[in-house]
Structures are given as structure tokens and as C-alpha cells.
Symmetry: C2
């Protein structure tokens, strides 16, 4: 696993015209999905998958409450949409943006899909599976770890969650 | 988490007439799903969810290849089917039978769904997430661990996988 600071990743861009590495832009889109999820009464988490030419191939917010499906996390929904639409269970040249640190279910799915880079916003000490808990990508049995960029628009992503749960109380 | 030997669980049956705890019977059904998965070119893993009255509420085999979806493991499919059909993201009084030790994605989904008991067949030292790798239910951040019964029809479950992969080589 390769860890970069937020300042490093712009230089990785091989397609500057299409903003492949414009993390803020894609995280903005993920945040929009998170806000929409909140209006549906869902925990506000949004995700986006972007291919190597900078095209958004899938975007979604949580749908757990709406679908009564505990697996309907934003990351799962975009992986399912992008892989089935792309005709391959692998997203080797794609990057995934998500407003919250993925849980161990989603982190594993990201690994199975061979996602190239994972950008996430807020950290999740209670249920995260990347930098917390089972640290899925650090497991010797993990066959693929994406490059990880964490803390992208962190305060906006976490504020959204904080306000949502404050209202629920 | 409570661990039982295969000899313990028959005594847990509160509904003897409907075979709630007839693990062999339900694992047989999961094996049938696994065999059917193999005929579709899928890794032969099958799963079944049974409610507290012994009714099978969902059954499925892997669909990763067919759907090009890396998350389409048998366990995920039955959880998605049972929760959406039941109108609740929780399966608190249900048991899940699967022919192979769940990976960390599926183990986490099983926890999210609050599955009561998990019965699995073959052990998976390479990719399992229950007794191997991240040991999801042993994580301090895991909020719900099912009761676990492992090694049910183990040799038949693992033979099926071994033969499938031998043919692939």
C-alpha cells in the first residue's frame, strides 16, 4: 500500500485535461450524493467512481433505509453499478471517492474490484475498516490494496454526519 | 461471541417440528446452490437464510461472473434478498448457512444484518474473514457477532471447491 499526502496526488495525473486527479471536484460530487442521502433519511455518505479518463462512471448515496438492505452503502452501490455497466468485475483503472472511511465490508469490496485509488473524506474510528478496526488493506490475506488518500474535504464530510446524527437525537 | 461444537446446536432448537436447527438439511440446500453455481462457471459457494420458524427465506449461489459484480457472493445475495423482502435491514431471528467461511465483506454484512447464527462448511485460510485474516467478529469495533457453527459438511463443501479449481487449471 502506498500512502500519499494530499499534496502529492496531483502529480499522478496522466490526463490533466479531464481532472482525473481533481480530488476536490470528485469529492464535491460525493458530498452532493451524501446531502441527497440525508434528505432521504439515510446516513449521509456519498460515493463516486471515476475512470482513467476522468469520467464519472457511477455515483450514489446510501440507500440502506430506503431499500431495507444493510449492504446498500454508497461504496457498494457504485461498485455494483460500475462493474455491471462495464461488463467486468474489476475496476483496475478506476478511482473511488467516498465521504467517509469505508467499513470493512466496503473496504473488502473495493479490494475485490481492484480499485486503483481510494479517496475518502472523514475518518471513522468507530466503524472504519481502512485506518481503524480490521485495517483490511494491512491484512496479509488482502490481495489488492488501493492507493489511499484520506482526509479529503474531511471537515465538510464529518460536519454533514455530525449534524445528521445531532438531529436524530 | 459464543462458539459451539457441531454437537451442541441441536439442543438450541426451540421449534423442533420445523427443523430450525437441522443444520445438515439447510447446508444440503446451500450445497445444492453451490453445485448450481459451479454449472454457471461460478466459484461453487451457496448460501441459505432460514427464519426462526425454519422457513427458508432466501437461497443463492455466487453470481460474480454472471453479473460481473465482485460483491455478488452468495451471502450478500441472500442477505439482500431476505432484508428487502422482509422490509427490514435486520435479520435478528434468522440464521445463515453458507458452504464456505465468509470473507470479510460478507462477514461484515452478516454482522450489519444482525444474523443470529452463522453456519459455515469449509474453512478458508486464504480469504476467510471469520476464523482467518481480519477475524471480523473479534474486532473491538464489531457491534454484532452471530453465534458461529463451523465445519458443517466441511469435506463435501471443500471437495466441491477443490474439484472446481482443479478443473480450472
Amino acid at each position: 500500500m502506498i500512502w500519499h499526502s494530499i499534496l502529492d496526488f496531483v502529480s499522478l495525473n496522466r490526463h490533466p485535461a479531464v481532472m482525473t486527479d481533481d480530488a476536490q471536484t470528485f469529492m464535491e460530487l460525493a458530498l452532493t450524493e451524501a446531502v441527497q442521502a440525508a434528505t432521504r433519511g439515510e446516513v449521509p455518505v456519498g460515493a463516486v467512481i471515476v475512470n482513467e479518463t476522468g469520467e464519472v462512471v457511477a455515483q450514489a448515496g446510501n440507500r440502506v433505509e430506503e431499500s431495507n438492505d444493510p449492504t446498500a452503502h454508497a461504496e457498494m452501490l457504485v461498485i455494483q453499478a460500475a462493474t455491471t455497466a462495464g461488463g467486468s468485475p474489476r475496476l483496475e483503472n478506476c478511482d473511488l471517492y467516498v465521504t467517509l472511511e469505508p467499513c470493512s465490508m466496503c473496504a473488502t469490496a473495493i479490494s475485490f474490484a481492484r480499485v486503483r485509488r481510494l479517496y475518502f473524506g472523514a475518518f471513522d474510528p468507530k466503524a472504519g475498516g481502512v485506518e481503524h478496526g480490521p485495517r483490511i488493506y494491512n491484512q496479509p490475506t488482502c490481495h489488492h490494496a488501493p492507493e489511499i488518500y484520506s482526509g479529503i474535504e474531511e471537515s465538510r464530510c464529518s460536519d454533514l454526519l455530525r449534524k445528521f446524527f445531532a438531529k436524530k437525537r
